[in-house]
Each structure stands twice: as structure tokens, then as C-alpha cells.
């Protein structure tokens, strides 16, 4: 079903998406918020610029955006997949607890902050371009991959601040400077590379990129350093 979103308020658009069938195409999207929030079992294609909190609390649906997304894409999403053919704004994948987000271009500040995992639930955020500062701040679980394509640096400042779980993979020949003391930086192991390859494959299939042009680089992995936890950082404990 096609929905022409031109001039439509987000409330109306989201009601139409809810009552429509499984396959939905939204045309002329222009800043409508909360698209697909909490939805399971749908496939939504968006042409245009969806508004903030796209796919918030997403629960199993698939969203494909032909364009850029704004802020807080996939906020607290639980399951499903979001594919952004352009770039995505600040706080992309904020507090994700499951599912996957693939961004072809860049993401803004604070992508993947507070991501978490529990048992079989482990979220994945793949960024084709570069990430702004505070990538993976307070990350508690899940996987972030930054490919840094067409960029000299994959991340901004304060990457992995307060990180205490999960992993961040960065495609770069030298790891970024100024990482917090509480995380370790290593070259990706064979096991890590398998994980990376799985998601790079999916990334290339969706966005029509060539895998060999991506896997031709070194990858580094950031993990919290369990030997150097955050003791006495804020209080005497």
C-alpha cells in the first residue's frame, strides 16, 4: 500500500501505517515523527525525510529509507531492521536493545549510546561513513561497526566514554587518539573479523557496495577493560 504523506501530520500518518497491510510505501515523507514506532511484522519503505524517532521501540518490522533520517532513529528498538540509504542524525540507535540499524552514510553525535544486550538479544549498528563524537557512550552491550568510508577518521572525540559492555569495531589503519583509559584497543581477531564480515556482507547487499573495497582495511576493536573498571571515577567506592 502506498501512502502519500505530503502535508500529513505524524499522527495521521502513523495511524494509516498501523491500519495498513504488511507492505507499506510512504511517499513524500517530510519530517513526520515516530514512524513505525513499536510496530512488529511490517515492511515500510520511506521516500523522503522521516522525522525524529524513526522506528523508536521497533519490534520486528523492517524500515528502509531512501533519503536521510533525522535524530533518534531506532531509539530503544527491540527487534527488526532499519536501513538508511543516506545519513542519520544524532543519537542513532540510542539505547537499542535488539535488532539492526544499517546507515550508508554518516551518523551524528552520540550514536549507539546506552546500547545494551541480554542473552539472545544483541543489537547491531553499522555505519558506512563516519560517526560524530560520543559514539557508544555508556555502551553496555551490542555491536557497533564504523566503516569510515570516504572519511579520514571514522569517529569524533570521546568515543566509547563510559563504555562497560559490548564492542565497537572501527575500520582504520591507526586507532583514534584520546580513547578513555577504561577501554582496550586491539586489532580485530579472526573471530571478530567473522562477525564484521557477516554484517559488511549485509551492508553491501543493501546499499550496492563492494565487499572487497571494505574488507581491504585493518579493523580495530574497542572493548571495556575489565581489569580497569570505573572504580572511584565519581565516588569513593
Amino acid at each position: 500500500m502506498n501512502i502519500n504523506a505530503a502535508g500529513m501530520h505524524f499522527k495521521e500518518l502513523n495511524e494509516q501505517i498501523k491500519t495498513a497491510g504488511r507492505e507499506i510505501v510512504v511517499d513524500n515523507c517530510m519530517g513526520q515523527r515516530y514512524i513505525g514506532s513499536g510496530l512488529a511484522g511490517k515492511s515500510i519503505v520511506i521516500n523522503g525525510t522521516p522525522g525524529n524517532a524513526l522506528g523508536a521501540y521497533l519490534d520486528g518490522s523492517t524500515i528502509l529509507v531512501h533519503g536521510n533520517a533525522q535524530d533518534a532513529t531506532g531509539d530503544t528498538m527491540n527487534d527488526g531492521a532499519i536501513y538508511i540509504a543516506g545519513s542519520s542524525g544524532d543519537a542513532t540507535g540510542y539505547a537499542m536493545r535488539g535488532g539492526k540499524i544499517f546507515v550508508n552514510g554518516d551518523v551524528g553525535y552520540r550514536a549507539g549510546i546506552h546500547m545494551k544486550e541480554y542473552k539472545e538479544k544483541s543489537p547491531v549498528l553499522v555505519i558506512g561513513g563516519a560517526a560524530g563524537s560520543f559514539l557508544g557512550e555508556y555502551q553496555a552491550g551490542g555491536t557497533i561497526i564504523v566503516l569510515g568510508l570516504e572519511h579520514t577518521k571514522p569517529v569524533g572525540n570521546f568515543c566509547g566514554m563510559g563504555m562497560h559492555g559490548g564492542r565497537i569495531y572501527l575500520r582504520c589503519s591507526v586507532p583514534p587518539k584520546g580513547l578513555p583509559r577504561q577501554i582496550t584497543v586491539e586489532k580485530a581477531s579472526e573471530e571478530d573479523m567473522e562477525t564484521i564480515e557477516t554484517y559488511v556482507k549485509e551492508f553491501c547487499e543493501i546499499f550496492g557496495r563492494r565487499e572487497c573495497m571494505i574488507m581491504n582495511s585493518d579493523f580495530y576493536v574497542l572493548r571495556p577493560d575489565s581489569k580497569n573498571p570505573y572504580r572511584q571515577l565519581y565516588t569513593q567506592n
Partner: protein, 373 residues
């Protein structure tokens, strides 16, 4: 009971900002900026909206355009007496408005094109701009019921309590043509929302629209009040306006340097800079430490011949910029740009603390020097 005002109550924001600028000095009417800001309707709550237009008064470009709110006729009489005593009033009129169902309780809204009286200016031993600033502050703090909300040359602020698109219609902005427009949709979080408290805030040709909630308000206020400014409204935008006036007009800092002071990088970031840059940033942070703004903000500063967009150093508020030919757009959300420019040549998210500064090019400067279009 009278509605409480800014300055009387502090209630412990989401807001929306948008701006557009023609480097060639092409003057466009207010319709585009209204369409842009109205895309972000849900970011504001109807308690304030406003616009600033630059290049809108070419026929009076050498005179200060005072836009004034009056509570009543007595305030108007008192204020006009003050103006006549200190300024040569070239022209005065009501600012044209249209009746609007969602804009109510409007004050008396008047416009004066003025120039300081030669004798008064000489007597004051101040430069012209300082004379104007002191006069505006005097009216706003001492003449009860009168409030000058715009005081620059060839520019004007239009603001009210209401949603921004309604405010734009109310002020008939389609009748004005400017090379730069900024707009604000307000969601007041700390103060009750009064006409004077809507954005933009302006002093001389500087105008500010702001989305955020600065945590350094009191530190900044205490410092800036040492230099003759009076922060009467308890809103952070007012203090930012004065800080920029002080740093630019009185300290002679460039707009980039102003950005480096108010959104200074962390010391840890400065340490990583090459020596010369590090020395400059260290100097600016030390010299103007009380003018560092902390907490979330995204602002658009309009000034004569230019516009600056700036985010706080942590980029705690959203901001997107775009270019198309000679046009530059900045807004809280990409949709607010796409609705007026569907196919920009370039669209990007400026980093926190990194200003985007645009100014008129040679064509634009020649254009704005013309008497009228």
C-alpha cells in the same frame, strides 16, 4: 489577574530554529521562512514565535529601526517623550498587523526610524552604537510598560506569543523582503511566555534565536552585567545576545573567535591542537572564562551582512545546514530545509562548537548598499 512575565517567575526545552541567507543579497519575502519553521510546529507549544529579517528597510537603511511593545498609551507617551529628547525621529508608524484568530492580547506595536540627536550624542561622550544600546536598556529597564525588541539598521524583529507560522501571518511578513531571515518556534521551559520574551532577541543589528537550556546562565549574567547590560527577563537567550554584543562590538572579536569563546573546546581537546592553535584557544578560554556557555544550545545569530550558526561543544541540540547555489540554510531539522529547498547541493551536520558563518559576497554587498529594490 495579569499573566506573569519574564523575570517574575521561573518555571523549570524543545524549540525550533531556522534560518536562510542569500550570499548574493537576493531579497526574498517572508513566506519561505514561515513555511520552513512551520514544518517543525510540534517542537513549539504556541507560547512564542518570531522572526528576524535583514535588508528589509532599504529606504531607511541609515536609521535605527526601533520596534517597541507598549502595554498602554501612557507607556507610549512616556517612551516617545524619551525618544524625542534623545533621537531625531524620521518616521513613526504602527507596525502593520492582521487580525489573527490565534494571536490575541497584543500590545501596542510601534516602529520608529531614528538617529541619535547630535547634541545629545556629543554630550554623552559615547560612540553612536553605545549611545543607542544605553538608550534601549534605559527604556527597557526604566520605562514601565515599554519594551524595545528590535534596534538595528535595515533589519527588524517580529515576535509574539503564538505558533511561529501564526506570528508570521500576523505581522504580514509576506510584505517584507530580506536577504537573511531567521525564525524561532518556542517551547518555554523556564519562563511563562510573554511577547517580549519570544525570540529573536536583538541588540543593534545582532539578533539571536536559540534552542536550548544553558546551565551557565547565572555565571554569564553576573559577568556581563558588570559592563552595563541588564538581564531583566531570566531567559538565557537575552544573556547570549548581550554576550555576543560585548565580545563583538566592544572587544572586537571576529565571529569565529566569539564562537571559540562561548563554545570553547574542552581543555583535553585543546591539548591535542597544534601549538599555534593551542595558544590561541588557551588565550581565549583564559581571557573570557566567564563567557563560556555550558549546557545545550543551538543558536542562529543574524548580523548586518551575515549569519552564524553555532551548537554547544557537546552538540546537545540538533542542527543541520545546507547549501544551494548562493543560498545557505540552517535548521533544527532537515525537513525544515527540504520543504523550501528539496534538492540542496550539500547538506551536513556541523560539529559541536564549530560555527557556520556566512556573509554577503561582493554582489550581495553591492545589492544591500542600494537604496531600495
Amino acid at each position: 489577574m495579569m499573566q506573569p512575565r519574564e523575570g517574575q517567575v521561573r518555571i523549570p526545552s524543545g524549540c525550533a530554529i531556522s534560518g536562510m541567507f542569500s550570499r548574493n543579497g537576493k531579497r526574498v519575502d517572508g513566506n519561505s521562512i514561515i513555511r520552513s519553521i512551520s514544518m517543525m510546529h510540534d517542537r513549539s507549544n504556541g507560547l512564542g514565535g518570531g522572526f528576524a529579517g535583514y535588508g528589509i528597510y532599504p529606504e531607511y537603511k541609515d536609521y535605527y529601526a526601533f520596534h517597541i511593545f507598549y502595554d498602554n498609551k501612557a507607556a507610549k507617551l512616556a517612551c516617545e517623550e524619551f525618544l524625542e529628547e534623545h533621537f531625531d525621529i524620521i518616521n513613526l508608524s504602527k507596525i502593520p498587523t492582521r487580525k489573527h484568530p490565534r494571536i490575541t492580547d497584543e500590545p501596542l506595536i510601534w516602529r520608529y526610524f531614528v538617529t541619535p540627536l547630535h547634541t545629545k550624542l556629543k554630550e554623552s561622550q559615547l560612540d553612536e552604537k553605545e549611545f543607542v544600546v544605553r538608550s534601549v536598556i534605559k527604556i527597557n529597564t526604566q520605562l514601565h510598560g515599554a519594551y524595545v525588541f528590535s534596534s538595528g539598521k535595515n533589519m527588524g524583529v517580529f515576535k509574539a506569543v503564538g505558533f511561529p507560522e501564526d506570528v508570521g501571518e500576523f505581522y504580514r511578513l509576506e510584505e517584507y523582503h530580506g536577504y537573511c531571515w531567521t525564525a524561532h518556534g518556542r517551547y518555554p521551559t523556564n519562563t511563562p511566555g510573554w511577547w517580549g520574551g519570544a525570540h529573536p532577541f536583538a541588540m543593534l543589528d545582532n539578533s539571536i534565536v536559540h534552542n536550548g537550556e544553558i546551565s551557565s546562565y547565572d555565571a554569564n549574567r553576573r559577568y556581563i552585567e558588570m559592563f552595563g547590560y541588564k538581564c531583566t527577563l531570566l531567559t538565557d537567550t537575552e544573556v547570549i545576545t548581550y554576550m555576543i554584543d560585548y565580545l563583538g562590538r566592544r572587544q572586537g572579536l571576529s565571529h569565529e573567535e566569539i564562537a571559540n569563546v562561548i563554545a570553547a573546546p574542552f581543555w583535553s581537546t585543546i591539548e591535542q591542537m597544534p601549538p599555534e592553535k593551542r595558544a590561541k584557544f588557551t588565550y581565549l578560554r583564559n581571557a573570557f572564562s566567564s563567557l563560556l556557555i555550558t549546557g545545550p544550545f543551538s543558536i542562529l545569530l543574524g548580523f548586518e551582512g551575515g549569519m552564524m550558526a553555532l551548537n554547544d561543544r557537546l552538540k546537545l541540540r540538533s542542527m543541520v545546514a545546507a547549501e544551494k547555489d548562493d543560498m545557505v540554510y540552517v535548521a533544527s531539522e532537515e525537513c525544515a530545509i527540504r520543504v523550501i529547498e528539496p534538492e540542496p547541493d550539500r547538506i551536513w551536520a556541523p560539529s559541536g562548537g564549530e560555527p557556520v558563518i556566512v556573509t554577503l559576497n561582493e554582489t550581495g554587498q553591492a545589492e544591500s548598499a542600494k537604496e531600495s529594490a
